[in-house]
Symmetry: C2
Subunit: 452 residues, 2 copies
């Protein structure tokens, strides 16, 4: 795993860049997967192999994982809970420990400006399980609707979830659909009558566009009108650094579709905002409207007609019984700190933004351009990801392969569901300050070797 | 949650036993569920209400949760991992951390006397996720086989898993099927051609019978012959206290179907043996034969034809991404200790056996009898559960209701899938030594009020 054990201690001189094409080809050929359709994890494995075999440290931009340590406040809360001797041996309630649910409700009030009862704030084993449960419930709300509409690009693993659940998918891309055009396209698609849910990520992985309030309002209205479940992946909560979302109870508030629909589930990962990915704890915030939504189609698979009950007792219970208990105390401590105004908890977003500003400049200064290059006419925020392309490379996979020779790894936008074939997704989290000069040097070399 | 916050501080005098039927009736009527079909969790909630409203402490025998604290060795290993600062912020490998997989493989060698490579030892978010993933994979191995055969009684939540996955179920009961009769019944049922898997719990929840090697051999052979997945729930690993399974590398070894089939998944919970339920960590041990089992039916849902790969990358990855990391270090420490011969880790089984011996004697001495009353002619071990009935009560639910008036709670055997309608499952874990005299007194009172 990158960020854990780099594995590369000796560094080869930069004069070896570009790397020997024969050596790279041999390492690629040894893999069990096809390079041209490699997943993120497969790319990750390939780059590990190249680093180990050729003794070179890469600029690792392929993997969207936190690059900062977990906050001590969470660590110590877990330690305290473990040592108290009351929790590790008994099952936690399926719906989450009451204190966490109450603090989450307060967090939603202070940072989303919404009143959601604790019952609707449900911890899950990572945002992954929250999305899985949301899709599972969505897929049974109407017997004849088995298609999930993905607003693209997005988190690739959501597609593995629909595959696992036997669902179909449809796509609309933010690249050419924003504002009224987006709403119209979603509405037209909803009219076909086969959709059960719409899912998206905003701030968006990987384009870093952020849906505007008017867009969320339009999406929410469509979900209510066509009885679709809105599944909002807020993995990058508070990380649109053009705004300061870090002051509790004071605007601006994190935009969310929950403000505009009675049929939404907003999934708040603690992996990125709180650098807390390893302990697998997230929150699913269900629209209070779903509490009252009685749907007899749910009974067959979940034993209840109530959506919240189906989510908790029909999916989470037979899936993992409950969320491991001490991470719930860790997240509780983080939410408490954020709720009382400890802004240091939003430091990760700021740090990634700082790195992104530097790294984007290096790429753009060396002939690259952004694929998703604006946010409804405004400049994009600097954040966890940005998207890049280079003149003369019509296919992202070709650019991805060429960059490997320069010690730079990324994934194709196609991997992230984008309609744009030419680009790559670059993640800033694992590149450290001491690597910026090396990145610059390698990009200059790349530009020199690939004149326009 | 019982065992956590008893909630009852004042004790009413034992002269109030039996409790006021009107008060009990009113509390039952206030519940949102039907008492006659109540689940374990619903019974648990009801008893919490009665305890709180009437100010009486029950003998809590309805809930099968550990009643002992988690071992310090696990707690300290988690604390150490948390404070090391390397793990909480990064995702763990989907397939589990390498050290845990290696130690698990060693544990399987030393305590099951089987050689299973680390790749086949996969941690999951509790045994619940292990069963879920096993059933999910099993259900896609043959397109036209959607029925899971349950050897009953068993863990009730497995039925919620088949419901969630849209599978059908069939039942064969240990009560009237053991030895050759069991094998013949399973074979006859397998011949119908609609089974994808056979699932059972041994030592059995709740009858505490333990399948013999010849039975496991027969089951394994049927699974190989009909290409069924054997899903063995070893939640009560090492807890057949008639044998001493605690010495590494020395017989007797824990019986397991993995010895007899190339198509088995054995799920080892750490909740009971290690009193480690709250942190949700278990092991799924896959038959090495499944590594070589290439099945193209798996591709559609899991993206691979390999069963192990489908289990890890097709189910676990899109379900929870990975197992929370520090509990993996906790389990690693426990396995290491067990592997080097620290027998104290098996103390839970011994402690439950001690309590069961006392409690069974109290029940049997007061007119009760065991429903599942022998283990293929041998006496049952004393363990986590036993099964009880009382003359004149043809329905377990009636006995359950009557016992509530005596401050004793249990669940019906029907809840656990048993064909026996008259009995109850009693769990010993939450009854402490100071409660034995109270149990005795209440049972004597019950007997006096219910002469044969």
């Amino acid at each position: 795993m990158p960020g854990r054990k780099p594995g590369v201690t000796k560094a080869i001189p930069e004069t070896s860049i570009p790397l020997d094409p024969g050596a790279i080809r041999r390492i690629i050929e040894k893999q069990e997967f096809d390079f041209r359709t490699a997943s993120i994890r497969e790319m990750n494995k390939l780059v590990n192999c190249i680093e180990a075999e050729l003794g070179i440290r890469f600029l690792r931009m392929e993997f969207g994982i936190p690059g900062l340590p977990a906050p001590p406040i969470a660590i110590e809360a877990e330690v305290e809970a473990l040592r108290r001797g009351e929790v590790a041996h008994v099952y936690s309630p399926f719906e989450g420990i009451p204190e966490l649910k109450e603090e989450a409700s307060r967090f939603v009030h202070l940072f989303l400006d919404l009143d959601v009862p604790p019952a609707c704030c449900v911890p899950t084993v990572g945002a992954m399980q929250g999305c899985f449960a949301s899709l599972a419930v969505a897929s049974r709300r109407h017997p004849d609707r088995k298609t999930v509409l993905f607003l693209e690009p997005g988190f690739p693993v959501n597609k593995l979830q629909t595959r696992l659940l036997g669902l179909k998918t449809a796509q609309i891309d933010f690249y050419d659909h924003r504002a009224e055009k987006l709403i119209q396209a979603v509405e037209t698609r909803a009219k076909k009558g086969d959709l059960c849910a719409v899912i998206w990520s905003s701030p968006n992985n990987p384009s870093w566009i952020v849906l505007k309030e008017t867009e969320l309002e339009g999406l929410g209205a469509i979900c209510d009108r066509f009885d679709l479940l809105a599944i909002e992946d807020l993995a990058y909560f508070g990380m649109d650094t053009r705004q300061d979302y870090s002051i509790p109870g004071r605007p601006p508030f994190q935009p969310t579709v929950l403000r505009y629909t009675r049929r939404g589930i907003c999934i708040i990962s603690s992996s990125k905002i709180f650098s807390y990915a390893g302990q697998r704890i997230a929150l699913s915030i269900l629209s209070p409207g779903l509490l009252e939504n009685d749907n007899h189609n749910l009974v067959e698979r979940f034993g209840t007609s109530n959506t919240l009950h189906a989510f908790v007792h029909g999916v989470l219970y037979p899936n993992t019984a409950c969320v491991p208990e001490t991470p719930q105390y860790g997240l509780l401590a983080l939410l408490k700190a954020a709720n009382r105004g400890d802004r240091s908890l939003f430091r990760a977003g700021k740090e990634y933004a700082r790195r992104a500003a530097i790294m984007k400049k290096l790429f753009l200064g060396n002939g690259f351009h952004l694929v998703y290059d604006n946010d409804l006419g405004e400049p994009l925020a600097d954040g966890f990801y940005f998207t890049i392309a280079y003149p003369g490379f019509d296919l992202g996979v070709d650019l991805q392969l060429r960059l490997l020779h320069y010690g730079i790894s990324a994934i194709t936008l196609e991997t992230a569901g984008s309609c744009r074939k030419e680009g790559l997704r670059a993640c800033v989290s694992l590149v450290s300050d001491d690597q910026f000069p090396i990145l610059e040097q390698r990009l200059q070399q790349f530009r020199q070797d690939h004149p326009r």
